[in-house]
């Protein structure tokens, strides 16, 4: 396996970020990765590259430069119009083999994980999944990739010493968005790849945009959870409204599920699902340990409870002590207003 020996890995230079995009828009994490990418490129004294496979390459390159990239490697062609593992993998492998970056970052999205896993084997290198902290040992030119393991109970820092590029997928919304500098310029490198549709085994037959059928709280970005304090199954409507306003889904504590107000699929906690959303709003949840272990890794936690002693407040980013029947409708109203305003500004 190890075709990259001590000697040959010295030739690898540069920090790269893969720009994942669909319908002409890049995913947020693609630009977020330019923040650590820029840091590491500067520290190592190399250029920060992005890799754009598929149409809208030039326009996305301009965006990438504005977010801090120095070079954009573009491979375009009709076979790349929708993401499929094989053609995209071939394109990226081609670029890696030709330009030899030392560090390569992708978002830990469905596509990013699918693609990165395939590339790592194809170019014979290591890959660290779902990182939340990135660092670099400048002297040894080693990429330090830190990720949660064991269900988030421990953190592990991983190295890939003998192989290049050093690859990682990084969780979305962990790295801050870089400041946008409109007009910032960079270099575009276009590559061609001989790949015909007939050579590609996989065809996409249909695509259905997300509808809100069914819940999958384990993967939800925003969860509004009802606890026993909500009082009755009827009152869950108020929780649903708040979830709708935030664009999230409804979760429930064990008590609420056991009381039969909502199905088990919604249950968060030790006996339910462990969740790691961006935003977790706990309404009328006291916060038994069995619940806390299931949700304490959420990025932002808002807790609403009339008992100031409720344990849920010990993990909340913001706690509101008050009557949830007053607080929830007001929160719904303010979030709706904020979102409308944000939409108007775009």
């Amino acid at each position: 396996m190890p075709k990259t020996t001590d000697d040959s890995i010295k030739d690898f230079r540069g920090v790269w970020v893969y720009v994942e995009h669909a319908d002409g828009k890049a995913t947020g994490v693609s630009w977020e990765l330019l923040t650590p990418g820029r840091h590491m490129a500067d520290a190592l004294g190399v250029e920060l590259g992005v890799m754009i496979v598929g149409d809208s390459g030039s326009r996305l390159a301009t965006e990438a430069f504005a977010y801090g990239a120095d070079i954009a490697y573009i491979i375009d062609g009709p076979v790349f119009s929708h993401y499929r593992t094989e053609p995209h993998m071939r394109a990226v492998v081609h670029l890696i083999n030709k330009y030899q970056p030392e560090i390569f970052l992708l978002g830990a999205t469905v596509t990013g994980r699918d693609l990165a896993s395939a590339i790592a084997i194809e170019v014979d290198t290591g890959l660290t999944a779902d990182c939340t902290q990135l660092g670099v040992d400048v002297e040894k030119r080693l990429f330090e990739m830190t990720r949660p393991a064991f269900g988030g109970n421990i953190m592990a820092t991983i190295l890939c010493e003998q192989h290049r590029p050093q690859m990682a997928t990084v969780r979305p919304r962990v790295m801050p968005m870089p400041a946008r500098q409109p007009g910032r310029l960079g270099r575009i490198v276009r590559e061609e790849l001989e790949l015909k549709e007939a050579d590609i085994a996989t065809k996409i037959l249909k695509f259905f945009p997300t509808e809100s059928e069914g819940v999958n709280i384990a993967e939800a970005d925003i969860i509004v959870t009802a606890g026993r304090g909500v009082g009755s199954a009827e009152n869950l409507r108020m929780i649903e409204e708040l979830a709708q306003a935030t664009g999230g889904v409804v979760g429930a504590s064990r008590a609420v599920v056991d009381l039969g107000w909502i199905s088990y699929a919604h249950q968060v906690g030790q006996t339910g699902k462990t969740v790691r959303p961006r935003l977790y709003i706990a309404v009328g949840v006291s916060g038994a340990i069995q619940h806390l272990v299931g949700m304490q890794n959420a990025d932002t936690i808002i807790a609403i409870n009339n008992d100031p002693e409720a344990p849920i407040f010990s993990v909340a980013s913001v706690g509101i002590v008050g009557d949830l029947f007053e607080v929830v409708p007001e929160l719904t109203r303010q979030i709706k207003a904020a979102r409308e305003q944000a939409a108007a500004n775009v």
């Binding site: 009082g231 009755s232 064990r254 008590a255 599920v257 056991d258 009381l259 039969g260 088990y264 699929a265 030790q270 006996t271 339910g272 006291s286 038994a288 340990i289 069995q290 272990v293």
Partner: protein
């Protein structure tokens, strides 16, 4: 003598978290036969003698929080009106004791 069931339940809730359960998402192994009978039941012993706090009298109704059940069977024998349809969880579900 009266007991603070709310406080006891909070204590139990905290304690049950150390146990491991494979919760049967599809069916409860405990069922109230006739809710009307519970309504008329004066003492409602299930609401205080269950070691897992499974039974909660709430809004005029007996709710059965079966997922934390310790499967001891006390409620079955203690119900003065034989109003519980009591069974074991489906095989492979329910509590899993590591020490026992």
């Amino acid at each position: 003598m009266s007991i603070d069931t709310e406080k006891i339940r909070a204590g139990i809730e905290k304690e049950l978290y150390v146990n491991k359960y494979n919760v049967d998402e599809h069916q409860s192994h405990l069922r109230v036969k006739d809710p009307e009978v519970c309504n008329k039941c004066e003492d409602k012993p299930c609401t205080y003698l269950c070691p897992a706090g499974v039974y909660v009298w709430e809004s005029g109704q007996l709710t059965v929080q079966y997922s934390g059940c310790l499967e001891c069977g006390s409620c079955r024998f203690a119900c003065p009106h034989d109003n519980l349809e009591w069974g074991y969880p489906r095989g492979g579900f329910g509590m899993v004791l590591k020490m026992g």
